[in-house]
Symmetry: D2
Subunit: 201 residues, 4 copies
Amino acid sequence: MKALALNCTLKASPERSNTQVLADIVLGALEREGVETNTIRVVDHDVRPGVSSDEGNGDEWPAIRAEVLSAEILIMAVPTWVGKPSSVAQRVIERMDALLSETDEAGRPVAYNRVAGVVVTGNEDGAHHVISEVGGSLSDFGFTIPGQAWTYWNKGPGPGPSYLDTDEGHDWSRSTGEAAASNLLAVARALAANPMPPPPG
Amino acid sequence: MKALALNCTLKASPERSNTQVLADIVLGALEREGVETNTIRVVDHDVRPGVSSDEGNGDEWPAIRAEVLSAEILIMAVPTWVGKPSSVAQRVIERMDALLSETDEAGRPVAYNRVAGVVVTGNEDGAHHVISEVGGSLSDFGFTIPGQAWTYWNKGPGPGPSYLDTDEGHDWSRSTGEAAASNLLAVARALAANPMPPPPG
Amino acid sequence: MKALALNCTLKASPERSNTQVLADIVLGALEREGVETNTIRVVDHDVRPGVSSDEGNGDEWPAIRAEVLSAEILIMAVPTWVGKPSSVAQRVIERMDALLSETDEAGRPVAYNRVAGVVVTGNEDGAHHVISEVGGSLSDFGFTIPGQAWTYWNKGPGPGPSYLDTDEGHDWSRSTGEAAASNLLAVARALAANPMPPPPG
Amino acid sequence: MKALALNCTLKASPERSNTQVLADIVLGALEREGVETNTIRVVDHDVRPGVSSDEGNGDEWPAIRAEVLSAEILIMAVPTWVGKPSSVAQRVIERMDALLSETDEAGRPVAYNRVAGVVVTGNEDGAHHVISEVGGSLSDFGFTIPGQAWTYWNKGPGPGPSYLDTDEGHDWSRSTGEAAASNLLAVARALAANPMPPPPG
């Protein structure tokens, strides 16, 4: 079984990404269960604006899309900016829109029988909203969202330190992330054993 | 296998509920697969404000909660008002908050291994937002949200007729609802065959 | 000039409301500028489900609606539950929907030339989302939302203490609330001096 | 008085933008009142990811930022993708985050005494959510959001034609857009006559 994390930070490598560090807790828990994991830091790639699977002109989405489709477990790792998913996360969601009209050999949308979770960091309020926004879109595309398949870290109220600037709240974010990993894996395995059929009609 | 629809219309019985008619498409498709179904029109009951499982004083939530826990499939049927889930839907979500701290004999949150979908009607824009808001909360509680487990109907732009006042768009809402039923049932069965374990730690 | 706060807590009087205490900071700053203030704790009244200005059957919304229309400044004071505005806040918004079709003698929607702000408390993440949701609806009805006309308090990540259980973060919430009062009053006065005309056409 | 529209379409020039055509209704109504108007199609410029006012490396945001600050009226023109503001709109919002810490000579955040409205198009449901999300962020930065300062066009339910592919609903979108122009201008003039003071403290 494979898991892919798409890190939607605004910061290009090699700058330190708080979001990556929290995503790594979920990925680490999956690895301990034998899952093969991979991370793509999306901002390091030229993902063109648009809603097709290949926008041409050096568009680097097609390679990322291939990685998404190679994994049974997708983790969207998303920083909060102004209370919302980062522009990089929304760019990924726009590009995934094309998945809706792509089907496998059995006539199923290609995201069926895949599960997705969300990891959120921010130095301010907004995590639950980001989780609902991102999870809602992934569910639109056909991904199944297991119960409690997310974790987050932030500080409140008002602006504050980033995740790696403090130890406060880390325990809760870690145990919640480990539960998310457990739930993602359990539902992915349940669907592998008993896959969803093509939609009727 | 059992399915429960919670109809969160603002209109008390016996007034006609557009939301019920669309929910019935999903319930009907489930029944054709042998699922036992039930609907509760929440506004007909005195569900008290609060976030515990029993607020006393004639609170009718405990009986509804028992029905929620008797079903493997939950359908939240929600009208859109001012672009948001109805106050009745939010009341239900607030009362479900207590599910978070209740566990079964194996130590699992009681919503684990249950699936949930969302049915939305409105005479105006807002369905996708309602689906993300309601789905996000149910996922918080531990319900698994299968891929494409929703349908909706509305009209745009601006105010317009209600679902039962026109035939426009009904075909899409019906076929989308039948797909939702298929996906809800498939994931419920997959989880019944291979249940999620208790969270680690 | 008059200001009205609608406290949308789930807790009936005389139970202590965290939301009221934070709202009082904004109201106090307005009073020091000579504004007459009033608060209604909505849950103490029988506000019936519906979207008309009077749902009959002992509906207590009409009296609250009269208070809303007597004030130039409206403050929605809203607790966060499951990351969203409380069911009581959404009930108020549904009932305000009828304001859209009511006009003054000059043909203006009755909410024109009134300003509104939002005060949010919660023991968990979600304040910015609540502010956007509530502010967006009030703007729909015709209320003007001054820049930075909100304050909030919460704790993150995960569940935590309520506002009155800790001193942490109170300074930021207070100074932000005092700025909100200043901005609400300034824009209310600007509109009183130069009112918006009726919409064209 | 000056108005600036930021068109946040995903489509680079010279491709036809539905969003521009609807924004032009609002801009045209402002011009008839003597307002000087300008539009920037953001995707034609290299706006770098980040949250500062200048991300270097050929970042074209600083020139756009100067235009934002030269106008008393801002119009965010935003297509709906997967029910949410476009990634280009979120990029603009992220870059505007730096406005929060910039003040004028009187100590006011630079967005004070400016007004903002939102124009939304989409071939599917989601406009009210986009309006709340974008308006909520602009209000965070200090822009005042006049009552009913938005218009939108979409179709429902499910996918459908774009704005320019049909005449359906255009009248409502136009008259709503003309009302938005009237309200934006009235509040901008009211604030010009009686400006908001610096925040206290």
